[in-house]
Amino acid sequence: MLHIKDLTAEVDGKPILKGINLTVNAGEIHAVMGPNGSGKSTLASILAGRDGYEITGGSVMYQGKDLLDMPAEDRARDGVFLAFQYPVEIPGVSNIYLLKAAVNARRRHSGMQELDAMDFLSLVKEKVRFMEMDEKMLYRAVNEGFSGGEKKRNEILQMIMLEPTLALLDETDSGLDIDALKVVSKGVNSLRSPERAMILVTHYQRLLDYITPDYVHVLSAGRIIKSGGPELALELERQGYAWLTGDQKDAPSKGVAQ
């Protein structure tokens, strides 16, 4: 489904990705882990089409198409979804309006009929209940005044409404308490299917206690330096990143070690 080959990218002339190779097949969940500044959020952003990155080499093929050639909105309509690390507040645009516009943009693009107001409303209410959210949030402005946890739930709500083919979750676990983490994980797990793939970008093993990945990759200084199964994440949790990067600052801190 997704083939990343020798991908290099820079920001303001500073190389961030230095040759990423990664293949993700339908049905798989990949965790991309790494210390701060390793480039893992950059990778997610580039895949979703955020501006401000200079792609200096390599290629990304998604379902046989050159992903890097597509504007962000086309990627979304083709099933790529990014759950933001820092969801954006959009004053004046209600959640329900954004959800409806997004769902219908995707449906139109896939040649499906748009949902009418009634069908849409019953669907969205069902999903809101599933995410253990308050229906009233639908009528509030997008993310405005939401707590960190509410914003992350809202990202997952959008994701389960849009049913993406390739979901990118950027540090979705950061800033979540244990209850919110469980709900968010429930949302993510509900989307697991043989047709769908996910990339979880995360610093900590914590999320992976709830969502078991098929593969774990360690990103450091813009390269994948090690790949393995779920046991690799546990190893990282025990030993910190220093074990792989050789950098003392990547050793586990007291707060992280369980």
């Binding site: 954006v88 959009i90 645009v93 943009a105 995707r106």
Partner: protein
């Protein structure tokens, strides 16, 4: 007085003075003559005056336009009027065409005791009362309007009467190439309540000039929502002067949308005259092409314990230019004043310009006053967030822009039909607004 425009309007006055409503009544004639003299003594404002520093009336000076003659008056059909009406379904509709009341296009079913009609009738019937429009702060333009006004809205709501359905007043410019001077007097007696929509619209895109005068008196506990929608033609110069006196515990809510005209200027003065009076002012201006839209507000806190809140928003595109000057005066007796003011602007083009100036003049010592102005561009993070959800770039831009402007309408949300009509007016005048219609906002 030597400038050409002054001479021109002096001649116009001579031509029409005997045709004005109530002409022949000595007092009334005198009031008009004095007003004209006052105008002639001052002349049209120029950019040398601080209040007009950013807004030039040179175009008006160079080419003043005559008042319309009876035989030239166009007669638009009801269908034409309803097509441009912001609230075509309004139960109460009063239409003025080229400055004159058009009874055939108007209708209302207001309670007994409510007076809603043409000011010209009232003045003709009771000329001894004079024009109920004088101001303690007469500017040249106010005086000009006073001298030349033929008609306008006469609205009086008796004590305790609450009108549920909003009243739509339309000032329609049907004939190009003329000046109109609509002048309106609005009085809400004790505890009265109403929503008025004042729409200024042109059926043409040729040159025209409107000098609009509005006087509002709110007795104690009255509650007046005053929506002004300026959707004049591309070559209209629209200058408006509104003065509002607010008595104890009365509330004045103003929502002004300046969406049309080549030059638009709104002077809005609110006097909070007695304890507990409140004013809420929301406004949006959307200059594009070479439009110039100017808002000058003055909120005068005369008495203690009054509150005011102002929020004006500008969206400036192409070579559009905006001016916001918000003045809050807290007089020495006005202790415990709470006054807030904000002005936010979105610049969508390198050629657009905004001059914004908040002005606080505080003479009391126990007050809470705040003001702030911002100028910014569309936030790329917001745009990317929307695009990452499948909304294309043009729609994302339009949506963020619209959301920015539409916040000035939030106080009207409960009045569904009006709210929908104003949102539509807003997005049809926004850059890329057509896209939003597709998204069935």
């Amino acid at each position: 007085m030597s400038d050409a425009a002054s001479r021109f309007y002096a001649d116009e006055f001579e031509r029409v003075e005997n045709l004005l409503p109530g002409a022949g009544n000595i007092q009334l004639d005198d009031q008009r003559k004095k007003a004209l003299e006052d105008f002639l003594a001052q002349g049209l404002p120029t950019t040398r005056q601080e209040n007009w520093k950013y807004t030039s009336l040179a175009a008006l000076e160079k080419k003043p336009l005559p008042l319309i003659q009876e035989q030239d008056q166009a007669e638009p059909s009801l269908a034409e009027i309803l097509e441009v009406a912001v609230l075509p379904q309004a139960e109460h509709r009063l239409v003025f065409v080229d400055g004159r009341f058009a009874p055939a296009l108007s209708k209302h079913a207001l309670a007994v005791g409510v007076r809603a009609g043409a000011l010209s009738s009232r003045v003709a019937d009771r000329p001894d009362e004079g024009l109920p429009l004088s101001s303690p702060y007469p500017s040249a333009l106010v005086s000009l309007g006073l001298a030349l006004s033929e008609d306008g809205l006469d609205l009086t709501i008796p004590s305790g009467v609450s009108i549920q359905s909003p009243i739509l007043v339309m000032f329609v410019s049907a004939s190009a190439g003329h000046s109109v001077f609509p002048a309106s007097a609005i009085h809400l007696a004790e505890g009265a309540r109403v929503t008025l929509i004042e729409q200024h619209v042109a059926l043409h895109n040729e040159a025209a000039f409107a000098q609009v005068l509005t006087r509002v008196t709110l007795d104690q506990d009255a509650d007046f929502t005053h929506v002004k929608l300026q959707v004049e033609g591309e070559r209209t110069i629209h200058l408006a002067d509104t003065e509002v006196d607010v008595a104890a515990r009365a509330q004045y809510h103003s929502v002004v949308l300046a969406l049309g005209a080549s030059i638009g200027r709104e002077d809005l003065r609110i006097n909070l005259n007695a304890s507990g009076a409140h004013a809420d002012l929301d406004g949006a201006y959307l200059p594009r092409k070479r439009m110039h839209l100017d808002h000058h507000t003055t909120v005068r806190h005369v008495s203690p314990n009054c509150t005011s809140r102002q929020s004006y928003r500008g969206i400036l595109d192409e070579a559009g230019r905006g001016v916001f000057n918000g003045r809050v005066v807290v007089e020495k007796d006005a202790q415990h004043t709470d006054a807030q003011q904000s002005n936010a602007n979105l610049l969508l083009s390198d050629n657009a310009e905004i001059d914004t100036k908040p002005q606080l003049e505080i003479f009391a010592d126990d007050v809470k006053c705040s003001h702030g102005a911002t100028v910014g561009q569309l936030d790329p993070a917001e745009l990317f967030y929307l695009r990452s959800r499948g909304i294309d770039e043009a729609a994302a831009r339009a949506l963020v822009t619209f959301a920015f402007a539409a916040r000035v309408l939030s106080s009207l949300e409960s009045q569904e039909a009006l709210y929908a009509g104003l949102r539509k007016a807003l997005f049809t005048h926004l850059p890329g607004g057509a896209v939003l219609e597709d998204l069935s906002l």
